[in-house]
């Protein structure tokens, strides 16, 4: 920023285009190979138990990523991510059971409608400050849960019992039996995760991402500098809603069953806790957090101490590692690398 910037009507041109330093052909090729290789993981990992664990971790990770994305880009914590994730599961279930739609049509409908809902909700809630925002999204999820549990809605939503789904048609060539098996479902979950990660990365590095983070830092100053501070946040919110909807759709596809628990605060809390443990400051953090959470769930779920430990983990991580587990590891790595470079530089100087 220089002095002349205050004269300009809009500071929009002052934002430097994001650096494309790391986007080299080699890196892109490497990433593409990793994505492709990841899809064939079931060939290497024959144990369906661990594969199920991984699938759950990935599905939870996508929801956690949605929360982390919004937390990092906008500073808004979405307590009610379950509203959009579970909402999408329910829309999918209703499209399959009530409308009798084919799988692909029902999936597209569920994601589109849940994203549309998040767009409408976003238009209302992004104006509020972070705390009322958190609570309004929480209230929305809770409201949806009450709606699907209403006795009058029982023929459509199945009430408290939930809905069992029987699919017609295929999802990218996968039948119901194949979707419920972790071995054949894994590529779907994996590719969805990679897609969502790519989108989050792209937005993070884009000019929109920069604008969003600047609005997070000082909304008023951005507005005075001639930026629109409203629509970017609505779009970011809708994008987070889309990610949550994808996660919810995967739950519906894999389990072929929906129940009001999907919309429960506790379910949204799982994704939130994953995001907190992994840390929102990196794109991968929430996904790592979700994997850790799923492992913890497997280890401690049976003893009933899971909530206790997640509670302790949340407190310890936020108090001690504000960047989350993954963020802290990354920071330490960067610091040690810099120190090594400094030492090398000193040697060269001598």
């Amino acid at each position: 920023m220089n002095a002349s910037s205050t004269i300009q009507a809009s500071g929009a041109h002052l934002i430097a285009p994001p650096s494309k330093k790391n986007i080299t052909g080699a890196n892109v090729a490497l990433a593409a190979i990793l994505v492709a290789a990841g899809a064939f993981l079931p060939l290497a990992l024959s144990d369906t138990f661990y594969l199920t664990l991984l699938v759950n971790g990935v599905v939870l990770g996508i929801a956690a990523l949605a929360i982390g994305f919004l937390a990092h880009q906008c500073g808004l914590i979405m307590f009610g991510a379950a509203g959009f994730a579970g909402g999408s599961s329910y829309l999918f279930a209703i499209a399959v059971n009530q409308f009798g739609w084919q799988l692909m049509a029902a999936s597209a409908f569920a994601v589109a409608a849940a994203t549309g809902l998040s767009f409408l909700v976003g238009m209302l809630v992004v104006r509020t400050r972070p705390l009322p925002f958190a609570m309004m999204t929480l209230a929305l999820a809770q409201m949806l849960k009450e709606v699907v549990s209403i006795t009058e809605a029982r023929p459509v939503t199945g009430g408290d019992d939930g809905l069992n789904l029987s699919f017609t048609g295929t999802f990218f060539g996968l039948t119901q039996a194949e979707l419920s098996s972790p071995v054949t479902f894994w590529p779907v979950a994996w590719l969805a995760l990679c897609g969502v990660l790519c989108v989050a990365w792209a937005v993070d590095r884009s000019r929109t991402g920069t604008v969003l983070r600047m609005i997070k830092a000082n909304e008023e100053r951005m507005r005075f500098s001639g930026f629109d501070t409203y629509w970017p946040r609505v779009w970011a919110f809708s994008l987070a809603g889309l990610m949550a909807a994808i996660s919810g759709l995967l739950v519906g596809l894999n389990a072929a069953f929906v129940s009001p628990e999907l919309l429960d605060f506790a379910t949204g809390g799982m994704a939130l806790v994953s995001m907190l443990i992994g840390g929102a400051s990196t794109v991968l953090g929430p996904v790592v957090g979700a994997l850790l959470y799923v492992i913890g769930q497997d280890q401690f779920g049976t003893s009933g101490h899971l909530e206790l430990l997640t509670g302790v983990a949340v407190v310890v991580v936020i108090m001690g590692f504000p960047d989350g587990v993954f963020g802290t590891i990354r920071k330490t790595l960067i610091r040690t690398r810099r120190r090594e470079q400094d030492q090398k530089g000193e040697h060269a100087a001598r």
């Binding site: 914590i77 009058e152 009933g304 407190v315 108090m319 504000p322």
Partner: protein
């Protein structure tokens, strides 16, 4: 539809009973928020802890001693919350601190199921209040009337403290302008200790009072927390008067809505929240703690 049955005194009293419980909880939540700018997600868990402790104390001694002992014990919990979380972390982002209280809510909730189990429990009302009395021709449980009196009595005392005492004035000052009040020599930390203990004690009081009125189960904390948050937001963040007004409105909507249409009653609080935030984002109250 015949609406004449809606406007009878018993239903009015039911609405007030629910409202008084919400008022006690929300005013504590609003106080802590006013002073520390932190939404205490552990408030529902503290309330639940109060209810379970009340159950144990009422079984060993009696209900009246529970009504005194439990708020005191909860005040100790409040002191722990203040010294352990709010004070060391006051320079951190308020959202971080709120999330830590969320972690504590998980810990307390699980601790309760470990100690008391997951079975729903019930506390019987003390003998003096077990009967019902004649309320304009209808029999009405005496305990609920007691609940209304204690709930609104406690809140009136709180409001009087805030309005007419020096420390109450300091609380109002800090809630509105923390920096300026500190410069004027108000000891924010000491005040915050007082307020957080008071808020936790109020949560304990609400828990004990809820025992004979509602059932005690591990889901009671999270469910009432959401109601309280709606009340606090609708009432205007940090405003005690607004919170009381909003709690009464909430109670009436719940009770009368259930009679008109259970479907609507379920949605009404959320619709209320959305409408208030769109129409009047600052809530019912004027300014902060008042």
């Amino acid at each position: 539809m015949d609406f004449s049955h809606l406007l009878n005194p018993a239903q009015l009293a039911n609405a007030l009973a629910l409202a008084s419980l919400l008022t006690i909880l929300s005013s504590g939540l609003a106080l802590i928020f006013g002073l520390r700018d932190v939404m205490n997600f552990a408030h529902g868990a503290l309330y639940m802890l109060g209810a379970y402790m009340g159950y144990t104390v009422a079984n060993h001694l009696n209900f009246w001693s529970a009504l005194v002992i439990v708020p005191l014990l909860l005040a100790v919990f409040g002191a722990v919350l203040e010294y352990g979380v709010l004070r060391p972390l006051q320079r951190r982002s308020h959202m971080d601190v709120a999330l830590i209280t969320f972690g504590y809510a998980l810990i307390i909730g699980q601790g309760i199921t470990l100690l008391w189990g997951t079975q729903p429990m019930s506390v019987s009302a003390p003998a003096a209040l077990a009967s019902s009395f004649d309320l304009f021709g209808d029999p009405y449980p005496a305990y609920r009337a007691f609940l209304i009196v204690v709930g609104f009595g406690a809140c009136s005392l709180l409001a009087a403290w805030l309005k007419w005492t020096r420390s109450g004035m300091h609380v109002r000052a800090v809630s509105q302008q923390p920096m300026v009040s500190r410069m004027m020599g108000v000891n924010t930390d000491r005040l915050s200790l007082l307020v957080v203990c008071l808020g936790a004690a109020f949560a304990g009081l609400a828990g004990v009072l809820a025992g004979p009125y509602l059932s005690i189960d591990p889901g009671m904390g999270p469910s009432i927390l959401i109601s309280c948050m709606i009340v606090v937001i609708v009432g205007g963040l940090g405003s005690i008067g607004g919170a009381i007004a909003a709690a009464v409105v909430y109670g009436f909507i719940q009770v009368f809505g259930t009679m008109v249409s259970p479907t609507l009653a379920v949605l009404a609080p959320y619709l209320l929240l959305f409408f208030v935030l769109l129409w009047r984002p600052q809530g019912f109250g004027r300014g902060r703690v008042a």
